[in-house]
């Protein structure tokens, strides 16, 4: 049987705090720079506009780059065979390409403005015409529906003329599907608002619980670790230009749960050691080091098992799953890193900052559980 025990080891993790912190800060700063330079790949849920999803078969030798460029230009006004369209949509956003089981899906995105016959129009305007069947809908909805109807035959035409795979296939039999997604400012703002409110409320509730069960210093340290994990996640997501959409938000929330969980296990150990008489004269640094070391097996094994499942998911999954699994993988690693290498130090240095170093928690007197604690630590 394997034995992964650090019980008798003494790692000086807190003493090297600034090195570990520097590593994280470098990544976070690089992430911020990248956000400023290239920007994040914001998904449609967080930016008003529309997406047009075109799914075609991923045949042998399919020229995906040319297809993408052709239809980005198509939306921007340059249709097939040099024809010009009246409407030039804003296609400055990244097109998302994903592959799944012999199919390739292009998510072309357009913004909320269009240049129609030389005149710029706001697509979020609502059509107010009793006689139109589109009365009450936004221009965006109307125009995108038109795009959907017009792009389908052109995709078929393009494939039939440019892809040798289709040379013996009747144009109408080419397998193409088009789906559209439109989103107004109001819904986008709503999504952003609820996401932030929900995130903030969740963090406050967690903070309150930790302050009640532990100390307020532990609460702040845990939240610092959590912010660290999310910042690293956002940085890595930007490096790899993974789209930021509701799936990404779910991944962030997953990591918040995981990060708090991992940090609490360490603080639980600190709390326990604090109540142990033999640790009365031990410095905060040594106490935190001891707590981190004695929970290290658990930190490694738990990260390992969760990572195994999510890695397998990324490996077996479709492109969409991978998009989702990658941020979680970044977050898991960041979470393990912060709970082992940073959280304890946050606790030590926050106590220094607020002049609470060396203070020990009150022991619960005359309780049976105290006796077992003493036994277990006084080895």
């Amino acid at each position: 049987m394997a034995n992964l025990s650090f019980r008798d080891k003494q790692f000086k993790i807190v003493n090297k705090f600034f090195i570990f912190l520097a590593v994280s800060l470098v990544i976070i700063v690089a992430g911020v720079v990248d956000i400023l330079v290239r920007g994040m790949n914001i998904g449609i849920e967080f930016s008003a506009g529309a997406s047009i999803e075109v799914t075609v078969e991923d045949t042998d030798g399919f020229n995906d780059k040319q297809f993408r460029e052709t239809f980005e230009n198509w939306l921007a006004g340059d249709r097939l065979d040099g024809e010009k369209a009246d409407r030039k949509f804003d296609v400055s956003r990244n097109t998302q390409v994903s592959r799944a089981s012999k199919q390739i899906t292009y998510e072309f995105r357009i913004g909320t403005t269009v240049v129609e016959n030389g005149e710029t129009k706001d697509l979020t305007a609502v059509i107010n015409d009793e006689n139109s069947e589109n009365n009450g809908k936004t221009l965006l909805v109307e125009y995108v529906a038109k795009i959907r109807d017009e792009i389908l035959p052109d995709v078929r035409k393009y494939l039939s003329e440019n892809e040798s795979y289709y040379k013996d296939v009747d144009q109408d039999d080419i397998d193409v599907s088009v789906a559209v997604h439109t989103i107004d400012n109001s819904v986008m703002l709503y999504t952003i608002r609820t996401t932030f409110i929900a995130g903030a409320v969740a963090i406050l509730v967690i903070l309150a619980y930790i302050i009640i069960r532990f100390t307020w210093i532990s609460g702040i340290a845990a939240i610092l670790a959590l912010i660290h994990d999310v910042a690293i996640m956002v940085a890595c997501t930007t490096f790899f230009q993974i789209p930021v959409n509701s799936t990404f938000i779910a991944a962030v929330i997953t990591i918040i749960g995981y990060s708090i969980n991992a940090t609490i296990v360490i603080f639980d150990k600190i709390r326990e050691l604090e109540r142990t008489p033999s640790f009365d004269d031990v410095s905060d640094t040594d106490l935190a080091n001891k707590a981190i070391t004695s929970t290290l097996t658990r930190s490694i094994l738990t990260t390992l098992t969760t990572l195994v499942v999510i890695l397998l998911l990324a490996l077996f999954g479709t492109a969409a799953i991978r998009e989702f699994a990658l941020p979680i993988i970044f977050g898991l690693i960041a979470g393990a890193y912060s709970s082992v290498l940073l959280a304890g130090s946050f606790w030590v240095y926050l106590r220094k900052l607020f002049k609470q170093s060396g203070k020990r928690m009150k022991r619960k007197a005359s309780k049976k559980s105290v006796k077992t604690e003493i036994e277990s630590v006084n080895q």
């Binding site: 049987m1 394997a2 034995n3 019980r7 799944a100 089981s101 899906t105 009450g136 809908k137 936004t138 909805v141 789906a179 559209v180 997604h181 439109t182 989103i183 107004d184 109001s186 819904v187 709503y190 609820t194 996401t195 409110i197 929900a198 409320v201 969740a202 967690i206 619980y209 069960r213 509701s246 799936t247 779910a250 997953t254 918040i256 749960g257 995981y258 708090i260 969980n261 609490i264 639980d268 150990k269 929970t295 097996t297 658990r298 094994l301 098992t305 969760t306 195994v308 499942v309 397998l312 998911l313 077996f316 999954g317 969409a320 799953i321 989702f324 559980s369 077992t372 036994e375 080895q379």
Partner: protein, 422 residues
Amino acid sequence: MKKTKSIVILTITALLIVFFGVACFFSFPLPNSVYDYNSVFSSISKGIDLEGGYYAVLEPKVDGDSLDQQTLDNVISTLMQRLSNKGYTEATITKQDVTNLRVEIPDVDDPDEVMTLLGSQGKLEFRDSSGTVYLTGEDVQDAYVGYDNDSSYVVVLNFTARGADKFADATKTISESSNKTMSIYLGDQEISAPTVNSQIVGPSAQIEGDFDYERAQSLAAVISSGALDIDFNISESRQISASLGEGVVNNALIAAGIGLLVIFAILLIFYGGMGLAASIALLIYVIIYVIVLAVFPWVQLTFPGIAGIILSIGMAVDANVIIFERIKDEYASGKTVLSAIQVGFKRAFITIFDANITTILASVVLWILCAGSIRGFAITLFLGTLVSMFTAIVVTRWLINLFRPLAGEKEDKFFGLKRRDA
């Protein structure tokens, strides 16, 4: 004796796990029957992001005051009625952001048709058989379900002062016409066609028919929401092709299955007999979890929901690792196997409780505040955490106690426990 008892109980447990495991995950044709058995897992309702479909966010176009909740509820039942008339029986409509409605419909071929259904409420009109309009929605104050003298359900209509006059005129003309039918239209759809036998004067009238409560209720809702004449802005709409979600669930299942095997291996390698107990508990966890997801009606498996499941598997293992590390420590410091297990579970419980309760709190917050797929995530995470606490603490302990008589004298070795090197 104890040994025999343990063997019997463990065998029964193993058989139950196999039985429920098959019931949860395998669909197969039933022998001697045309029916198929559908696995418990496949009966978990799936969100449109996995199944494909259409969703839209509707924003009511009202001047000034926003709609009250009663009105919104009426509108919801009208829309539901209209969608199910067109065959979209699995549509769901939820409130979002107090006044907006979120409509999710699986399996949509023609999104334009759905948008037309949702976009405009259509005008409520009372017509005769030739199509002449006598009253419109403005003339109806409200409509609700009531009883007549035989205590069967009727729909009661209350008219405005002007509406009552118009209704009196209308009933007079119609009762003297040949077929005596008054048709109530919403948009171009006939929703009711009561017979008028005489002129009705007064501020209210009732529609009788062989209504059961639900039908009467939905007719009343349709009329009263039609009376409101609300149109909607479709502020978000999305068509999701089934191919996007296709394979996601199956691939996730395969990944989870292999992942579990790897976790079993890790647990066995590091914790021996205790790891075996944890592995069996994990199987039981998976089965209970799947059944719970299938049984609770508000569970909808979404893409992020799969993440919630993975996270709770991770937490189930975490709880056991915390417990086992604790037991190892206790034994190393000189306790007997029995008391090491007892103290280990007791002490570890506090840690697990604190670590998991924060997750539960966070998921409840998301459940309440978020909509759509994030809510699906919150629900799976919440349920998963609860079930995993139960199996990791209660079931694992029960199994370890069952293992003890089997291991006999060598139980320390069996459980992978070692004294501290002197």
